[in-house]
């Protein structure tokens, strides 16, 4: 029987502890996680790039739902634990979910500190800790205005830079004379202030916030000296407090944080504490590297009695604001027993300062040029004597040993135990060892196997240099995944070469592009078939044998080998005649299940393969055609009732949906395409999670695309707005045609957008009407060949009849002879 492990909190520290645990002792524990946030584990270090728009939420997910499922973890999302009953050994969350434990990890993290000044509870006063905060900020940023950030530390400045990039005016208020005074000396703090001001961010130092002004929501901020600054939102980033209420209520020893020993156990030996909520040897940590070190100790301790201990950490910091390079580590206060080495290059905006005590580096601040940060940090942690290189130390590693070296040689010179990835504590030899032993060739693979460069990403350059060093010429930084084992070419290469070399059949592609197998595999053949079909409409003959069974027999295979059949219902509209025909088919063929789909149609499940042609014949007779519910193709266009019936409808959404579906049905696409048209912003057709969606307004039509509501959940992005239905249709068709020509097989629209970028899509279909027309016309041409009902072609005795009946029956007597 596995023991029961309950984890309270689902941040980065417990996530890492579980990774270690599942590696060391798979199956030893049955794990239950309570997460107060309604989502999976994501990389909080990357909130700033999400805020600034350089990354999306999907980019920063550490463990997706599949990960929890594959490790048998029960994850309670959005459930905050309210009590720990140490006598009964249970925890209980809001709304009464209770879980028993043998071992418990408390990882409640920290709470942002809100300065208790007048107005601090107004709507619009935000903190910056999780994705909800980011989303609130983004919503505020979408309509512009001014944001005031209280606190000029790491988080505050990242928030300020992000909000500025999102188009808000930003003022940073900082109590101390210089920014980030805990990590930077005054000189670097001043340089930082100057480059923030150059970006248009107002910085006010020595600013004592007196009150936040406003009736119900924030309107401004008043300083002690009487200055008033207009503000739409106020972001409080003055510091964090370990979140200890739960532990305190359970009677655990609590100081500033939850007190733990070197074995990470609290005053109750069956309860561990981990992360920002912890106080260890009087110290609380808010950076990721120490938390990961703690996580490793917790995992080892959970496996059984062991020597693994946490002994405290030396920490370093990097500011993650694009274009500002800043590194600091250790102690850099001045003192009689210390000397300092300083390098300034004003024109280049470079400032470097090392603090040396007893021939060892004890502190480092680098501004403007931080490549040597890892090296200095390594010297500092190892307490390496520096007198030998004292003269050239400040110039960095590449100047040691006489002449300047190239960066690869500098990385080559690092010792095997030099730390490359500070977040995850990964040293050089672990990375090079994994590259050689496992034959890794891409950055993603190195990340997967070693975790290096997988958290904040600032060491990516170093990791790539190590890969270049280890792999030599075999390393190609742009290395892309081949489409399958039959070729070294990527999907992008293959698509490009099909057009460039006018390759028009699967054997031709395989011959010219030097396929390694004689006739491909189940991954590449369907992809090639689609590419050729999309690129050479009217010329290429569809290869049935290179299609998955669903597209070959135009129905969806089910787990028992029967099929499901979904006829089209244009825009979700149907008639009594259609419903009667469906009812008759269900009776006649004794179809076991009938279900309404999410796409406003009717699904008949459990049809025998032999019956399919006859079922189709009957449905065809009632005027229905294939709904393509099985295809990488246009699926449904959901609609609401729009101006036909709805008192809020602004346009004829049903009419537009039907028109789009009638125009586009039959077209094949890289992956499935689901659409919807909503008649007003209330959005009853749920258009904003579709591949393409339309929101009607009084002013016209808002064209959305790139939503997702499956494995990933993502709202759409707005492509553009148009005034008429004709323009809406042209825009949608051109967009889908561009996707048909550029998308990789099985790549949904939202992933295509992520790969190619919004700017290139807008340039092709929005900005230039002539270009848009070209895509539109190409789609129409292609439709001439694809708008045929596959059911009608195959119904009773038509095409591909071999598919639907057995080749022979060997009767029992014959077999027994």
């Amino acid at each position: 029987m596995p023991e029961k492990l309950v984890v309270i909190g689902n941040g980065m520290a417990p996530g890492r502890a579980l990774e270690h645990l599942f590696e060391k002792a798979p199956g030893q524990y049955e794990v239950t996680i309570f997460n107060a946030e309604p989502r999976v584990n994501y990389n909080r270090l990357m909130l700033s790039p999400v805020l600034s728009g350089e990354k999306t939420y999907e980019d920063i997910v550490t463990h997706d739902d599949a990960w929890y499922a594959s490790h048998g973890v029960t994850l309670h999302k959005g459930k905050r634990v309210e009590t720990i009953d140490r006598a009964a050994r249970t925890v209980t969350a809001a709304y009464g979910t209770t879980a028993p434990y043998d071992k418990l990890i408390v990882a409640t993290g920290s709470n942002p500190f809100i300065v208790p000044i007048p107005g601090s509870t107004l709507t619009g006063v935000l903190t910056y800790r999780d994705l909800d905060d980011v989303e609130t900020m983004l919503e505020a940023a979408s309509t512009g205005g001014r944001a005031v950030v209280v606190g000029g530390g790491l988080l505050g400045l990242e928030a300020a830079a992000g909000l500025k990039m999102r188009g808000m005016d930003v003022t940073v208020l900082h109590l101390m004379p210089t920014l980030m005074e805990r990590q930077l000396d005054p000189a670097a703090g001043y340089l930082l202030e100057r480059s923030l001001k150059a970006r248009g961010i107002d910085v006010v130092t020595k600013a004592n916030t007196h009150a936040i002004l406003g009736e119900d929501k924030v309107e401004g901020v008043k300083l002690d000296d009487g200055t008033v600054i207009d503000a739409k939102i106020v972001v409080m980033a003055v510091g964090i407090r370990p979140s200890t209420d739960l532990a305190k209520a359970a009677g655990l020893d609590v100081g500033r944080g939850i007190k733990v020993g070197d074995d990470m156990r609290t005053s109750d030996p069956d309860i561990f504490a981990l992360g920002e909520c912890v106080e260890h040897r009087g110290q609380c940590y808010g950076l990721v590297a120490p938390l990961y070190e703690m996580a490793e100790v917790v995992a080892s301790q959970l496996c059984g009695p062991c020597e693994s201990r946490y002994l405290g950490s030396v920490t370093s910091t990097k500011l993650k604001v694009t274009g500002i390079d800043l590194f600091s580590a250790g102690d850099f206060a001045e003192g009689d027993d210390r000397e300092e080495i300083v390098l300034r290059d004003a024109s280049a905006g470079v400032y470097k300062r090392l603090v040396v005590k007893d021939d060892r580096i004890i502190g480092a601040v680098l501004y403007g040029e931080t490549a040597d940060g890892a090296w200095f940090f390594d010297l500092m942690k190892k307490k390496t004597p520096v007198s030998e290189m004292r003269e050239t130390l400040i110039f960095g590693q590449s100047y040691q040993g006489g002449s300047p070296l190239d960066p690869i040689a500098a990385v080559a010179a690092l010792p095997g135990d030099a730390e490359i990835c500070g977040c995850n504590g990964v040293c050089k030899s672990k990375i090079t060892g994994a590259i050689s032993a496992r034959g890794l060739t891409s950055l993603d693979e190195v990340r997967a196997h070693t975790k290096a460069s997988s958290s904040c990403g600032t060491c990516t350059g170093l990791v790539e240099q190590l890969m270049a060093l280890t792999l030599g010429d075999a390393f190609n930084p742009q290395a892309v995944k081949p489409m399958c084992g039959c070729t070294d070419l990527s999907h992008a290469d293959v698509r490009r070469l099909i057009v460039a070399k006018t390759l028009k059949s699967i054997p031709e592609v395989m011959q010219e592009l030097e396929w390694k197998t004689s006739c491909g595999c189940a991954k590449c053949r369907p992809a090639l078939n689609y590419y050729l079909l999309a690129d050479w409409p009217g010329e290429y003959v569809d290869d049935d044998q290179s299609r998955f069974i669903n597209e070959r027999v135009h129905a969806n295979i089910q787990k028992d080998g029967t099929y499901s059949v979904v006829p089209r219902m244009w825009g979700g509209m149907t008639t009594s005649q259609e419903l009667r025909a469906i009812a008759d088919v269900v009776d006649k063929f004794q179809i076991p299940s009938v279900k309404c789909t999410g796409g406003q149609r009717i699904d008949m499940l459990g049809v025998k393969k032999e019956d399919l042609p006859a079922v189709w014949a009957d449905l065809n007779a009632a005027g229905m055609v294939s709904g393509a519910a099985y295809g990488k193709a246009l699926r449904t266009v959901k609609t609401c009732v729009g101006t036909d019936w709805c008192r809020f409808g602004t346009q004829d959404s049903t009419g537009l949906g039907v028109r789009v579906e009638r125009f586009m049905w039959g077209s094949w696409t890289p992956a499935k395409v689901k659409m919807a048209v909503s008649g007003c912003p209330r959005n009853c057709a749920e258009a904003t999670c579709k591949d393409v969606g339309v929101i009607c307004t009084d002013a016209g039509y808002e064209i959305h695309f790139a939503g997702a509501a499956g494995l990933d959940i993502k709202g759409t992005e707005v492509l553009t707005q148009v005034k008429t239905e004709d323009e809406a249709l042209e825009m949608i068709v051109a967009l889908v045609q561009l996707y048909r020509e550029q998308g990789h097989y099985l790549e949904r629209i939202y992933k295509w957008l992520k790969r190619v970028g919004m700017a290139s899509i807008k340039a092709a279909v929005v900005d230039d009407p002539a270009k848009r027309r070209v895509y539109f016309d190409r789609f129409i041409y292609s439709q001439k060949f694809s708008q045929r009902d596959p059911w009608a072609d195959r119904a009773s005795g038509g095409m591909a009849s071999h598919e639907f009946k057995p080749m022979a029956d060997i009767p029992f007597q014959e077999a027994a002879e």
Binding site: G520, A522, R525, D544, R552, I557, M807, I810, A815
Partner: protein, 116 residues
């Protein structure tokens, strides 16, 4: 023991495709490769029972339509991380008439035949 059953012509099956034969031992999938080689296996993937006759045929393998298990048509072995095997049946083709014959004899005989 002569146990050969005539089941049809090579051209009854599309190249890189398959057809089914019903037998007292259950459904049998008969495959035709790109090079016109004929193979027969039970029509049940060892993974979750998917109908192999509905899969994509490549080289002398088939990929199951349910969860993409790849099965060697020669040996019946599942390729890749999972282990498992389907029963294979011997086939022979008359070079003049292109008639396919199938044997329901034991598996060992079938493997010998396929190896030839």
């Amino acid at each position: 023991m002569s146990d050969w059953h005539r089941i049809g012509l090579v051209t009854d099956i599309p190249r890189r495709g398959a057809r089914c034969v019903n037998s007292p031992f259950g459904r049998i999938a008969v495959f035709r490769t790109a090079e016109d080689r004929i193979f027969a296996t039970e029509d049940r993937c060892p993974h979750k029972g998917g109908p192999l006759s509905q899969g994509i045929v490549h080289d002398s393998s088939v990929t199951c339509p349910l969860h993409n298990a790849v099965i060697s048509l020669k040996s019946g072995e599942m390729r890749g991380p999972d282990e498992g095997r389907v029963r294979v049946f011997a086939t022979r083709v008359d070079p003049l008439t292109e008639v396919i014959e199938l044997s329901l004899e034991d598996e060992a005989a079938a493997i010998r035949e396929a190896a030839e």
